[in-house]
């Protein structure tokens, strides 16, 4: 098998996985001279071959002068070819079940048959084995599937605007599977990018002298350029008519695996995207998993301005609903036990439920956990957890019988904290929450029905009975911990939002008193870091406790409905006022008065007196300080569902200190603050986003 040919076939990446079989060598016009069989003499042959390749490539891809390989050296291109063979191999190894993606039935059956014979069925992952094959198999909510389907249908045939779709959601919520299933059902071709492995190590051993050179310049560079080429060429050429079937011309490109370099610096990626929008034609789907901490890949790779600029649509998936999850787990378990390699007892329902619960909506993780639980060696482990969970589920079932209204919520309700320990034994996940959800959990403050057998114990004396609350569903400290925010910051978020969740002013009085306490506790900087944990506990529990309208589990009458959450104004306000004070002091330093006098007396009166000021900076500063917007009350930013707040206190303080040093160009600062002001005022009330409760 010649390297040259492999390389060329790799241009049709995704079609010809069988490049190691000889039946797909179809590229006749190739010059025979450039074929090499031994690795040792690569260095001799590769130079002419690469040159020819260049010519061949550039003549065929006239439109892409920037993107063809004129820049790459001959070594690169050879390496490139080897790595692309490697890539295809890796694809074939890594994702065997994905071969069906081009809708070529004959082909795919052939593949699967070969795999069956090769691989021991016992070692394959069930999550791969039972990957969804039709829409019905998907665990994703029907509306989401419909959304994606409509998008694909809407864009598949339109040629003019190359559409880009961005799918986001937690891991294991079926983003990729949805796309695969849909493309298959819509009879589209799915081209998928997967990162090439790094250079073939054999290649490097052969010539030690060039080793460093290759590592330095070769890999990262070539990965990006390969990605670029893939994107820009993948939609240009049709599948060759190899198997005598009708060629499917409708194509979808999917990128799930981003070249690593893009995480360091996303600008080349953005350039590629812009270029794609100019020249490309097929719908392009990106899949990015959410992360709740650190830098979000979504924000890094797809910043908001780029999304709007390129009109990237964003569909975000929710965690898989508990009912769907159990259904699928049951199906997988029963199928496996009847057809699988070894017999086992299907785990009973509560084990499946607990697996589903502990996976937190990650279907892949759940199936993996199930497989683990059903292995020969660990089957007793499941039994142990069954015993533990049984007591709980029994309790739960008795309660759920009684409450007719909230019956279907029983799954989610049992996700409470006392269970987590037990679930860890069969592969529970250490989860983290988005800030939005974490706040929601505190503010909506859902409560459980108290277990009635010990109701006498929990009863308070008569005169204190107004302080009785039903047990909480969540542990507030745990929620805060999962949100990865410092206590101070979480408190600020709570403070910004709690008022809207209250119905009467008396409750707010107690809640605001708690908030005031929290600030009072962190007065001393020496003990602040220690007290933060207590402070956030007071804040969360205070807010939850004070809300008497949500003291009972069954107050459906006072349903709050969906409320948008906002980012705290405090930090922004603080910053602006600091800036204003700074510039006022600097500009009016000739007045020789203390800042308070300046800001509350002098400047306001100067504006009333109409003194002619000669400094434009002074004038704008005065306007800034004296203009009150009476009609627009709030200037707040909305908190997005998936916003991750990175701004910790320390960084914020540092920044403020930086700003506190006297600005040299004060005019600039003022205009900045003014533009800030305008921006924030422009944030108008967006239409409400509807969040489906993921507990179905």
């Amino acid at each position: 098998m010649s390297k040259k040919q492999t390389k060329l076939t790799s241009l049709w990446n995704g079609n010809d996985y069988d490049s190691d079989d000889s039946d797909c060598i179809i590229l006749d016009p190739l010059p025979e001279t450039c074929s090499t069989s031994k690795k040792s003499d690569i260095s001799v042959v590769k130079i002419p071959s690469a040159k020819k390749a260049n010519q061949w490539v550039s003549s065929a891809f006239d439109g892409f002068d920037d993107f063809c390989m004129t820049k790459s050296t001959s070594k690169d291109s050879v390496k490139h070819s080897t790595s692309s063979t490697q890539r295809e191999k890796s694809v074939a190894v890594k994702r065997p079940h994905h071969q069906v993606s081009n809708g070529n039935d004959l082909f795919s059956t052939k593949r699967t048959v070969t795999r069956r014979t090769n691989v021991q069925p016992d070692t394959s992952l069930w999550s791969d084995k039972y990957a969804p094959k039709s829409q019905g198999d998907l665990a994703v909510h029907k509306k989401k599937i419909l959304e994606v389907e409509q998008w694909i249908k809407g864009h598949i045939d339109r040629k003019k605007l190359p559409p880009i779709l961005l799918l986001t959601g937690p891991t294991g919520t079926g983003k990729t599977s949805t796309v695969r299933v849909l493309t298959k059902e819509l009879r589209c071709q799915l081209h998928e990018w997967s990162n090439p492995l790094t250079n073939d190590s054999n290649d490097n051993w052969s010539d030690n002298t060039d080793w460093r050179n290759k590592v330095d310049s070769g890999i990262s560079r070539s990965q990006i350029s390969q990605f670029r080429e893939f994107l820009l060429r993948a939609n240009k050429y049709n599948t060759l008519d190899i198997f005598g079937e009708d060629v499917i011309t409708r194509k979808i490109i999917m990128v799930e695996d981003f070249p690593n370099m893009f995480y360091k610096d996303a600008t080349p990626f953005h350039d590629v995207l812009r270029k794609y929008v100019q020249v490309g034609g097929s719908p392009l789907i990106f899949i990015v998993s959410d992360s709740t901490y650190g830098e979000s890949n979504e924000r890094l790779l797809f910043p908001k301005d780029l999304q709007s600029q390129l009109r990237i649509e964003n569909i975000s998936f929710n965690p898989v609903a508990m009912t769907n999850m159990t259904k699928i787990l049951t199906k997988v378990a029963s199928e496996e036990s009847s057809h699988g390699s070894h017999r086992f007892i299907i785990p009973d329902k509560c084990v499946l439920e607990s697996i589903a619960m502990s996976s937190c909506g990650d279907i892949r993780g759940a199936i993996n956990a199930l497989q683990f639980a059903c292995l020969k060696d660990t089957i007793d482990l499941a039994a142990v957890s069954t015993n533990k969970t049984k007591s709980f589920t029994r309790k739960k079932s008795t309660t759920s019988n009684k409450k007719s209204t909230s019956n279907k919520k029983s799954f989610s309700k049992s996700g409470s904290f006392q269970k987590d320990e037990e679930l860890m034994s069969i592969g529970g996940r250490d989860t983290s929450l988005f800030l939005f959800r974490a706040l929601g959990k505190i503010l909506y403050c859902k409560r459980d029905e108290p277990p009635e057998n010990n109701i006498e114990k929990t009863l308070l004396p008569k005169h204190l009975s107004q302080f009785y609350r039903d047990p909480l569903q969540i542990n507030p400290e745990e929620v805060v911990e999962k949100s990865h925010l410092s206590g101070d910051y979480f408190g600020a978020y709570l403070h910004q939002n709690y008022v809207e969740f209250y119905n009467n002013i008396e409750d707010i009085v107690t809640a605001s008193e708690y908030m005031s306490d929290t600030d009072n506790l962190t007065v001393d900087w020496a003990s602040r870091s220690v007290l933060q944990h207590y402070v956030v506990s007071i804040a969360t529990r205070g807010v939850m406790f004070s809300n008497t309208s949500r003291a009972k589990h069954n107050n459906t009458s006072t349903s709050l409905g969906w409320k948008p959450l906002h980012k705290p104004q405090w930090y922004g306000t603080n910053k602006i006022s600091r800036q204003n004070a700074e510039s006022a002091r600097y500009l009016f330093r000739g007045m020789r008065s203390s800042p308070v006098v300046l800001q509350t007396e002098l400047i306001p009166y100067i504006s009333l007196i109409n003194t002619t000021l000669h400094d434009t900076g002074q004038i704008s500063c005065m306007q800034e300080l004296c203009r009150f917007s009476s009609h627009k009350v709030g200037r707040y930013e909305k908190l997005d569902e998936k916003d991750v707040d990175l701004e910790d206190d320390e960084t914020l303080n540092n920044r403020q200190h930086k700003e506190a040093t006297l600005p040299l160009d004060t005019d600039d600062v003022i205009s900045n603050s003014q533009s800030n002001l305008k921006n924030s005022q422009e944030v108008d009330d967006e239409d409400d986003v509807i969040i489906d409760d993921y507990d179905d």
């Binding site: 002013i505 009085v509 008193e513 204003n580 006098v597 002098l602 306001p604 009150f628 707040y636 200190h657």
Partner: protein
């Protein structure tokens, strides 16, 4: 065109308009040759700064009026760069150390050291000490105040300090005992009227006595404010009429509206709106304690006698926390919420009494 406040500021101890006996005492003090550290205190707008400048002029002659603005750079032990602007003449230097926030200690020590290490050039014709004028001493951190105490003793031979503050309650006793305290009381209403009349006369305007009185009352015996108000009235309408409105700064109007909103309705929704307005005030650099005070003054007017103690107690409670804490909005909002609850209860009881 400079403001009347600056234009008609008296420049020597002889020309001061009120507290004349005190001025005579100060004159004697300066004439006596040696001179202790001074701590000048009194409410805002009572003429502390004016008196200090008069003293300086008495000490050094007209040379102190040649002022220049300078930028000084300091580096904290933690390698942080500080920058502070000072106003100085050949004989004195004026600085507001609270401009640099928590690092005021460094500024005080370094600045006084540099000033005090250089002796007066002509000791024969001039005093042998320079003067460092520190404003807003009550806003200094405790740390800085202790540093100040040490420096005061150390450089006594070459440098005198004049400290200026509104209230001595936040000045540590050690400093108080090392200084000669000079209290500058706010001028009485009559004195304010007198000054206003005098200024208007010099401007060639005819100020009706009634208007002068109203301005004086509205200014809360703050002479600076009174003069600014008077000038604003002049811009608004001339010739003056006795019943013309005395305009207020925008933020006060805004605060008044806010207080009105609180009294109008007591609900979570309203509280949220009020919070927005509080933020708005804070962005316009109105200090939180001023907001609290203003709110209380406006709210108390619409309160019944029996409520007043409770409301004021609440306000005091939260004002104290506000002074200690960092997030002033928490405390402001807690106060507003509490007032709403008190007021609502009061209204409900009132309705219950009727039936």
């Amino acid at each position: 065109m400079s403001l009347w406040v600056d234009k008609y500021r008296p420049t020597s101890l002889n020309k001061l308009d009120y507290h004349k006996s005190q001025a005579a005492h100060l004159k004697n003090l300066v004439a006596g040759g040696d001179f202790p550290h001074l701590l000048v205190y009194g409410p805002s707008g009572s003429g502390k700064k004016t008196r200090i400048m008069c003293i300086l002029k008495e000490l050094y002659g007209p040379g102190v009026e040649k002022l220049r603005i300078e930028q000084h750079h300091f580096t904290t032990p933690s390698k942080k760069k500080l920058e502070i602007s000072t106003i100085s003449s050949n004989y004195h230097i004026e600085v507001n150390p609270s401009d640099v926030g928590n690092n005021d200690r460094v500024v005080i020590q370094e600045l006084i050291k540099t000033v005090a290490q250089v002796n007066q050039l002509e000791t024969s014709t001039q005093r042998e000490f320079k003067v460092v004028l520190l404003t807003e001493v009550d806003r200094l951190t405790k740390d800085a105040q202790h540093a100040l105490r040490r420096t005061m003793e150390k450089y006594m031979s070459t440098c005198r300090l004049i400290l200026c503050c509104n209230s001595t309650s936040k000045v540590i006793p050690a400093i108080k005992s090392r200084c000669l305290g000079i209290r500058v009381a706010a001028p009485s209403i009559d004195e304010v009227c007198q000054v206003l009349q005098m200024v208007c006369k010099k401007e060639g305007l005819n100020l009706p006595g009634e208007l002068a009185r109203r301005i004086a009352e509205k200014s809360n015996r703050n002479l600076r404010k009174a003069l600014l108000m008077c000038e604003a009235c002049r811009v608004q309408q001339y010739p003056f009429s006795a019943d013309q409105t005395v305009s207020e700064p925008d933020w006060e109007v805004y605060l008044k509206e806010t207080a009105h909103m609180i009294v109008q309705q007591q609900s979570p929704k309203r509280l949220f709106e009020v919070r927005g307005r509080l933020y708005e005030l804070l962005t316009h650099c109105i200090p939180a304690d001023v907001i609290m005070k203003g709110l209380l003054q406006n709210l108390i007017n619409s309160c019944d006698g029996e409520l007043k103690t409770e409301v004021i107690q609440t306000a005091a409670y939260y004002e104290h926390r506000l002074q200690l804490g960092q997030k002033s909005i928490y405390h402001l909002e807690a106060f507003v919420a509490k007032f709403m609850a008190i007021y609502k209860r009061f209204l409900e009881e009132g309705i219950a009494d009727i039936f």
